[in-house]
């Protein structure tokens, strides 16, 4: 570790992995509720499990992004973090807020939670992914500002690289667009329209800047390829991200009361959204092929290459599958959407955080790379999780196609619940793949505790 203050990242990474485990456990509960409808009812109704599942995902990724930037920015800026103390305080505030929020979801009826937390002052709750009570939302803003402040101050007193600039820009966008979560007009169409300014402009916009910067950083480190080359790629990739992704928001504006012209804008631009992801794949493999050093951390290289491929498949290919308006007319709001969501989030964001953790954690723990046996276990966990989420995606895709056929295309359309019974075999298969994913994740966690002779720094 070049700078002592980079060590604060460790706290963030541990929390991220812990919450990731929680996310998967709740995912398994929901997966079972799809086929055994009354499982854990009324203790944990589906909507509560889903809130916990998706909110934990968002929070652990944010922990991952923050931890990654506290590691990355000092190294890029060639200076200590502006305030490690602030980073630690922010960590505990965020963790406490997250824990209290999840406990609130689990222990209190949602309507009471809303009443007690001041939702009457400003209605913001009860919208998908933005279910957090008002104080939690304010907390997220404060945490993001503290993070942004700390990182910006660090950058200002040190070297300014393209990677740190892009990362900071991504974080700024994350903070700014989250502010739209406070805007919830009674007009449902406007509500939905600006809801996407948080959800879409995060995951298909500014988060991709963070993703690109983190991937570029790790690739420089593990391949030794010239920074000029890597950073030029980074700029070209994120240019394509914004060029396609901003207007690409239009693919959510087909059927929610917005004008017909969005079907054209949305279809054309979002059809181009796979391009930056494909470039990312080409970029990652190119850099690794042109490597000028053999980094002892082989696991980190695997995660990095995995990110580029799975992000392309999940966000690019599975996104394209249902993005054209005439296709989306039938696919909108089916299991196909869920299939895309799972592979895209795993491929792009879960994997890039795990890539950073894989690269940074050994260094924080005082070695260039983990012992051989630990790395092998880590790589097994990569394959188990990656293959099983791919199968989850395939099963949900199967479920989605049959669902669309029976419910929306057939000349004698069946009702929603009747169709759900017909496709339960897919849900059982998905649940089985989910168990494999959990095994992969447990193996991943175990790999941190494997002892052995580790690779020292050169």
């Amino acid at each position: 570790m070049k700078y002592k203050s980079q060590a604060v990242a460790k706290l963030y990474f541990i929390a991220a992995i812990g919450l990731f485990l929680g996310q998967i456990l709740f995912g398994l509960i929901m997966g079972l509720q799809y086929v055994v409808g009354d499982f854990l009812f009324p203790a944990i109704p589906f909507n509560v499990a889903r809130m916990v599942h998706t909110n934990l995902l968002i929070v652990w990724l944010l922990f991952g992004f923050m931890g990654a930037s506290y590691f990355l920015i000092p190294e890029e800026s060639e200076t200590e973090l502006f305030s490690p103390k602030l980073a630690i305080i922010t960590f505990w505030v965020f963790l406490a807020a997250g824990a209290i929020t999840v406990l609130g979801y689990l222990l209190v009826p949602y309507a009471s939670l809303a009443k007690w937390t001041g939702n009457d002052l400003l209605n913001t709750m009860g919208r998908e992914f933005l279910e957090q009570p008002l104080p939690t939302k304010v907390g997220i803003v404060l945490v993001a500002l503290s993070w942004l402040f700390n990182i910006t101050m660090t950058m200002l007193k040190g070297r300014k690289t393209a990677i740190s600039l892009v990362l900071t820009l991504g974080m700024l966008g994350l903070a700014v667009f989250f502010l739209f979560s406070f805007y919830n007009p009674v007009n449902l169409v406007k509500d939905k329209f600006y809801w996407w300014w948080v959800v879409h402009l995060w995951v298909e916009g500014v988060w991709e800047l963070i993703l690109g910067a983190m991937l570029a950083f790790v690739l420089i480190k593990v391949t030794g390829v010239d920074r000029e080359v890597v950073e030029k790629w980074l700029y070209v990739i994120i240019t394509m991200t914004l060029v396609t992704g901003i207007i690409g928001t239009g693919h959510h504006y087909y059927w929610i009361g917005t004008p017909v012209y969005w079907q054209w804008w949305g279809s054309v631009f979002s059809a181009l959204e796979p391009i930056p992801f494909f470039m990312m794949t080409v970029f990652a493999f190119n850099m690794v092929n042109k490597r000028r050093r053999e980094h002892p951390n082989k696991a980190a290289v695997l995660w990095a290459l995995g990110t580029s491929v799975m992000a392309f498949l999940g966000a690019g290919v599975w996104g394209f599958l249902h993005t054209l308006a005439p296709v989306n007319y039938y696919a909108h709001g089916t299991q196909l959407t869920a299939a895309h969501g799972h592979l895209a989030f795993y491929g792009a964001y879960a994997l890039v955080v795990l890539t950073m953790i894989s690269y940074a954690m050994p260094i924080i723990r005082g070695r260039a790379a983990n012992p051989e046996r630990a790395q092998i276990m880590e790589m097994w966990s990569f394959w188990l999780m990656t293959v099983s989420i791919f199968f989850i995606t395939l099963f949900l895709t199967g479920a989605g196609i049959v669902q669309i056929w029976l419910q929306r295309i057939s000349t004698t359309p069946m009702s929603f619940m009747a169709v759900q019974d017909q496709i339960s075999i897919f849900y059982w298969a998905r649940e089985a793949a989910g168990v494999v994913f959990l095994i992969g994740l447990l193996l991943y966690i175990t790999s941190f505790f494997v002892k052995g002779e580790s690779k020292a720094f050169e």
Binding site: R50, V186, Y235, I246, I256
Partner: protein
């Protein structure tokens, strides 16, 4: 990538492209907001609809259902449920939950008053009259 295309050129294209497309997005947004009143059924937003929306949110209905195709995919689409089932069925359904049928998906009992349920129905009626470009494809949602 070719050597004549330098990093600073790439950076300028990034800033230029990002700003241009964001401004274009703002222009489209501006136009959408102008056109919306002809499509969004906002003339029918009454205090009952507003209260119904709030109840929809504070009971986390979106955690299981979709509304105009957005939400969770565990329970039926409700954007057109007013047309599919009618107000009386919806009221009876909400009051009758959970069904308690073994192994079936269960909807919680939200303990809403009759007046509250009327407002939820008013909200669902308003939602069903938004111009959604003929989505969903059929009544089943």
């Amino acid at each position: 990538m070719s050597a004549t295309f330098t990093k600073s050129m790439a950076r300028n294209v990034f800033y230029g492209g990002g700003v241009f497309f964001f401004l274009l997005f703002l222009a489209l947004t501006f136009d959408t907001m102008k056109v919306l009143p002809t499509r969004d059924n906002s003339q029918n937003i009454t205090p009952a609809v507003a209260h119904g929306k709030k109840l929809w949110e504070t009971n986390n209905c979106i955690g299981c259902h979709t509304l105009l195709g957005e939400g969770a995919y565990f329970a039926p689409e409700l954007g057109n449920v007013y047309v599919r089932r009618g107000p009386d069925f919806i009221k009876a359904w909400i009051k009758g939950q959970p069904t308690g049928v073994p192994g079936r998906r269960q909807m919680p009992q939200f303990n809403l008053s009759d007046a509250d349920i009327d407002d939820v129905v008013a909200f669902l009626k308003y939602a069903s009259e938004i111009n959604t470009n003929k989505w969903p494809p059929n009544i089943e949602g």
